[in-house]
Amino acid sequence: MVKRDINQDQGDSARAPHRAPFAERDIRVTGRAQLKPLPLRNDELNEAKRLELYRLLVEIRDCEQRAYDLFLQGLVKGTSHLSLGQEAVAAGFAGAMEKGDLSFCTYRGHAHTLARGVPMEKVLGELMQRDNGLMRGKGGSMHLTSVDHGVMGSYAIIGAHLPIACGAAWRAQYKGQKDVSVCFFGDGTTNIGAFHEALNFAVVWKLPVVFVCENNLYMEYTPIGEVTAVQHPAADRASAYGLERIVIDGNDADAVFRAAHAAFDKARAGGGPSLIECMTYRYSGHSRADPAKYRPAGELEDWQKRDPIQLYRSRLLAAGIGEAALKAIEQDSKRKVDAATEACKAAPPSPAEILTTDVYADGGWAWRN
């Protein structure tokens, strides 16, 4: 019973009309028709998967919030770019990925990294630039990488990783491996040259790569609509590469999961790339330096009313999942974040000797004899 209900309300949520403030940037879920030829198997979005998605949502939220708090305490150094408000994209995609699938992220990559199973301590440690960090402080928050978890890097030059994801997908195609490369990027990224080259390349070579545009309405401080020739910066360009136009509600973890799943199935079946535009919103400023004063009054609050976590929580409750199960996830998440924080605070800074390690494959940096 529960299962059927759950599957029903996915459709409902995808059809739910958006509130007035969003009317102008209307989230048109035109991708649905296209999802039909590859329907979800009934067992995909079952209770266990849903609880997993909820856990991802909550853990990402808590960890990002903690990163923000630590920044206020002066413990996160350098810059950092949070995904508060955008958790459903990370959760939905990671939830649909299989072990061996590869993620390519941007500087706004904590969420995607966590979602693939990288421990919070590793992520927070890197943000705090400690020796226990994912890259021992050498990369910093913008370059989170965990090859063991399929997180093939976070890239801080806009657009650079789209072609790189193509390359990983080419390897899968060449070797007959079944993994999919998933590449996350923002709305602003659609206006840079590498976006265009990667999309065309991926289609011509029919690569198993999925391009995911998280449209949070802004580049750094400039509204995307002011610098883009079309309304939907990614989806309205899909036809330029012979791809289908897909825009989904990026605050709805189920909608994201389903779109991801369909795209992955297509990729694994040799059907080539997909481009998915997820409408979402970031609650904080672009980076830790940004108070986000450029946002019109009320915009944040309106989006918060469609908070991905609250939205998903209500849905699970309505679907008959007990409050206790959700509470357990929430408490567990808090414990994890606290434990990770303490571990990071106790961790030493990176030792001086790693300054010059791993420039080359021999482990060192010698450019001369």
Partner: protein
Amino acid sequence: MAELTYRDAVARGIAQEMSRDPDVVFLGEDVAKAGGVFKATVGLLEQFGPQRVRDTPISEQAILGAAMGAAMTGLKPIAEIMFSDFLAVCFDYIANEIPKSRYMSNGQVKCPLVIRTGNGAGSRFGAQHSQSVENWAMMIPGLKVVAPSTPRDVIGLMAAAVRDPDPVIFFEHKSLYAAKGDVPDGEIVDHLGTAKIVRPGKDATVLALALMVPRALAAAETLAKEHAIDVEVIDVRSLVPLDLATILGSVARTHRLFTVEENPRLCGWGAELASIAADEAFYDLDGPVVRITTPHIPLPAADNLEDLALPNALRIVDKIRRSLNA
């Protein structure tokens, strides 16, 4: 005379030139409404309006290409490339288009523009947002290249760059944006191609640029106080044109040369200056020409590691002391 930050000097320098010449226009990402991600261009939109101060998409090739096309046909654009690391995504314009069009056209095409960009380390941003890349520009024939170290020089060299008929790459050091300095009232116009002896000395010549200038000066004080070594510090300021009269003149007096640069080791501007000295000032030199550089590694994000990578006063003192006593 007023105290001004390096950051505010950028806006003042641009405003000075935009007020003077209606053909000066300014474009870049988040530069107008938001006043720039480093807040270095706050107020320009309000003062000069949306036709002259324009936000662009994240399209660095379009930014530099548009600046070039506008410069060729009568405007004097100032283009911002937010971080100098991003010169790599529009490097064709830096290397192949902007600097070569005059020559290839046998003088028909002009390209009077300024590309200003946030350069250098110190912000713990990691390997793709911290590089010091003056050498990327210096190595390209046809460009002019400046890198101011003080608020006053920011204004004066910006004015000189905007008024110059050739393309100028203007490196602002991110770690200097908050630095303060006295700036005279009224118009300031400096000269490209002039180095400044910022501390006279007799025992060795130390060449530095941008953030390395205050560090070289601090090192000089320590060397003087603690080691009785009196070095001359020169703020090179302009890599192209290069003021070799001042630089080689100093070496002729001090007989030793040190360069202090943030470029990673290989093919930095220090290599160029050191090798010029090794040729033209060989018989003036009493000892090795020593380059003090960032090691040849990508930059780490962690603060303690980043601090270790860049030349600092301690390392400069150490290197110079050992070399002079050797």
